[in-house]
């Protein structure tokens, strides 16, 4: 695979605030790459740096192997889909789509033809002469995508384009974006604060927090092996028990917490005496003693039925909330509120990360 976008030791500061701490990322060509993080984490800044709306304070940006320093936003092989979509309200749909061709001096007939091809691609044939305000939210979305694709960019930058849509449409657009990306082969860099969106669509995800790149990995890897406490808490639901590492044996860390002593997979570099936290996904916790060896007592508080599973919310004696996802077949013997329960999990399902 060739490299599509390379960020090399990028840094960005605004006055005294540091929006992006020094980071390096390489996005492969044809990849659906997401940058995930809460608002204000610097992800939009990175997108704007790639688009060329801002210059990094330090570091280099390469697109298709070419250094982007001194190359303006209107000269870069990128095209962006804005959060607000930023369609041009005074132009009909086809002129919106063909705007990038118009400014490149493509003759009108060819522009119109290309716009209609793209309208077919986004399943909106016959909409060429509509005005933007006549379209529904999902249609506007697709016109924005067509407009961005019309200039045949190497990289498509998407700035939370689905956040304004309702849930149903958002889920639909998710799969549509994904299949469009596979069909066109264009590199997508997708910004979102919605972890389920990032996990569902992406080939790889970069997680950011407070301007710091936390981890770059495939969605499965990110979920199974978060490398930092932030990633563990931000991506998916998790239970966290803080304590101190007593010893390390066979790659398993023994952690003393106020809720009990737990065994878990120790992260690299973890050593005895470290302050650390044990992270366990709710679906890894089961009712009863189980086979695992990690067990804790808690008081059941409530059961939330979620369809395929039900989430049991309980509380330890120390007052810490614990969540356990119970599979469907265990719902019959689910404990009533106020019952004392014994919960357990396997060491292989628990991850121990040292405190930063």
């Amino acid at each position: 695979m060739t490299r599509s976008v390379e960020l090399i030791d990028i840094e960005m500061t605004f006055g005294i605030t540091r929006a992006v701490e020094k980071l390096s990322v390489t996005v492969e060509s044809g990849e659906f790459f997401s940058i995930l993080g809460p608002s204000g984490c610097g992800k939009t800044t990175i997108l704007r740096l790639i688009a060329g709306f801002m210059q990094p304070t330090a570091g280099r940006i390469l697109i298709g192997g070419r250094d982007m320093v001194g190359i303006g936003a209107n000269q870069r092989p990128t095209s962006m889909i804005f959060q607000s979509l930023a369609l041009f309200p005074l132009m009909p749909v086809w002129e919106n789509i063909a705007f990038g061709l118009e400014v490149r001096g493509v003759p009108k007939a060819a522009r119109r033809r290309r716009a209609e091809e793209l309208l077919d691609l986004i399943a909106l044939p016959g909409y060429a002469d509509r005005m933007v305000h006549e379209l529904s939210g999902g249609q506007k979305q697709r016109v924005a995508i067509a407009r961005a694709l019309a200039v045949e960019p190497q990289v498509l930058l998407l700035d939370e384009p689905l956040s304004a849509l309702d849930l149903k449409l958002r889920q639909h657009m998710r799969s549509e974006l994904r299949s469009l990306q596979k069909r066109t082969g264009v590199t997508f860099i997708y910004i979102t604060h919605d972890q389920s969106e990032a996990l569902a669509m992406s080939d790889r995800v970069a997680v950011m927090s407070a301007g710091i790149l936390q981890q770059v990995a495939t969605p499965r890897e990110l979920y199974a092996n978060p490398r930092t406490a932030f990633v563990a808490r931000f991506v998916g639901e998790t239970n966290a028990f803080s304590g101190k590492v007593e010893r390390i044996a066979d790659g398993l860390a023994v952690v003393e917490t106020e809720h009990g002593t737990f065994l878990g997979r120790g992260a690299a570099g973890l050593k005895a005496g470290d302050a650390a936290t044990v992270y366990v996904r709710p679906e890894a916790i089961s009712l009863g003693t189980g086979a695992g060896g990690n067990g804790l007592d808690a008081l059941a508080e409530q059961l939330e039925f979620e369809g395929a599973t039900a989430m049991l919310h309980a509380r330890t004696e120390g007052g810490q909330p614990v969540m356990a996802a119970l599979p469907h077949h265990r719902l019959t013997d689910a404990p009533p509120a106020g019952a004392r329960v014994r919960l357990s999990f396997e060491p292989a399902q628990a991850l121990v990360l040292a405190h930063a």
Partner: protein
Amino acid sequence: MHSLVKRFGPGLGSLILLGVAVWLVGMVLAPNLMMLDFSLRPNLTPAQIGGPDDHYTLVNFSALFADPVHRAIFFKTIWASALVMLTTLVVTYPMAFWLAKVATHRAVAWVTVALIIPFWINEVLRTLAWYILLAFNGPLNVVLVGLGILDTPMRWFGDAGVLAGMVYAYILFMLFPVYNSISTLDSAQIEAARNLGASTIQIHRRIVIPHAKAGIATGCVFTFMLAAGSYVAPALLGAPGSRWFTEVIYNWFFEGGNWNRGAAYALVLLTLCMVVVMATLRIFKVNLADVAK
């Protein structure tokens, strides 16, 4: 009218309506009808008024187009006002765009104050300042000759002086409508256009100017009307070769003592301004209600 009564009650509602009616009839309609009446009668001595010669005639209007000097001044006023309008737009547009989309809040506040402060001074005095600046031995000529740009001082009074004085006098009437309309443009649209490869000129031509159309039309209408009706700038900064139609009207009223001729000339100017306003609005496809906003 119904909503007025609904909001203020029948008493206060009708009082407001009455006030507006008195204003329109007494301050707008009556004087203009009197002007129309004046303009359609010949200029007579007091003894002849009411006599056999006192009948309606178009002689005052035909006199304007029969007199080559007055006719020339009339048409010159039209195109010169259009030139003032265009120059003001060209000077103002970059500033309006900068204020609306580029400048920080702090800079906007400072620049706005700096632009408004001169307008606390009376228009005559402001124009007098230009009179001093542009004088033959004034600062502008001293600087230009000192820098070696000019060999000998220039006579600025005349067309150049009038243009400078008017552009300066009416700049805010153009700046604020244009600034207001540009500032309602979503900056993401500018970025989207740039992102799609548009140059700065293409962005302005296709995105910013079409969006700011109503503001530009409003500013143009204001500036044209003010320029066509201006008296101070041509009187102070003009030369015999740059007479303005308002000066001719003034002369008929106050020097020539021929109010009937003056009234006819004034009505022609009024009609012309209305035609230009309507034409501008038609060209920009803006309606009068948008301008009033």
